[in-house]
């Protein structure tokens, strides 16, 4: 099984514009819904907190790996066991981490953005279940899951 996520989207904007939206901490924060404490610096921990409604208690912590202007931006971040307020105990040092990479490529009409997230092997099965409970109606979801499982 492929333990990674890959997204390819073409954006109608120049590479420089997309690069800024990804690497400028204020712009990143706007679309990612996170309030960052300061600019991204390669090799440094980026801190802040999530602004997504209902998840404002969740800390943002990511270790910036590479910043190659208009080409590549990458960081590792953690997958806490639960992000629900009652059970949240995010700890960057000990939580399992995945690597997120944004690659940019110029195209005829704008920019191709390739996003990958890898390293999910390190997230324990029990934690995955916790994440699955995140949304309301988790049990109804569970039943659909059983149906899917039976069907495959």
């Amino acid at each position: 099984m492929d333990n990674r996520i890959e997204k390819r989207i073409e954006l109608k904007a120049p590479v420089s514009r997309v690069c800024r939206a990804i690497t400028d901490y204020r712009e990143f924060g706007e679309w990612f819904r996170v309030k960052l404490d300061g600019p991204f610096v390669a090799g440094k921990l980026s801190t802040g907190h999530i602004t997504y409604p209902g998840y404002e208690h969740v800390k943002w912590e990511a270790l910036v790996q590479k910043i190659e202007p208009e080409r590549l931006f990458s960081f590792t971040w953690s997958h806490p066991r639960s992000i629900e307020k009652a059970n949240y105990s995010g700890d960057f040092a000990s939580d399992p981490k995945t690597l997120v990479e944004f690659r940019l490529e110029k195209t005829a009409h704008g920019t191709l953005l390739v996003l990958t997230e890898s390293g999910f092997e390190s997230v324990p099965a029990e934690w995955r279940l916790e994440a699955f409970r995140r949304n309301d109606g988790g049990w109804a979801e569970q039943m659909k899951n059983i149906e899917r499982f039976i069907a495959r």
Partner: protein, 120 residues
Amino acid sequence: MPRNRNRRGPVERSGVRRREQAQVFAALGDQTRLALVMKLADGHGHSISRLTRGTRLTRQAVTKHLRVLEGAGMVRSARAGRESVFEFNPRPLIGLKEYLDRVSGEWDQALARLRDLVER
């Protein structure tokens, strides 16, 4: 040598996974047990008497089916006083793929917001 180990690792793991899946399939491949799973999946603990009520099954039959589900890891039991209480454990049904689907959906939403930002 490390290369060989790496190559063998996932194969062994997927073998175990297949065995577990076969067990889950076998456990669900029975109308009575499927009905029991549906009842248990409400997220509450159920006693054997509660699971037997409204069915034509005997306590013994229900117990036997519960043990099969327990063997497949889909049911957990705990003692509550004199009775055993059974709970649904969906973990064997939730693989890596479902977790990735979830994270993947979150990225779709974030990237849609990124698109709005750079294309406006």
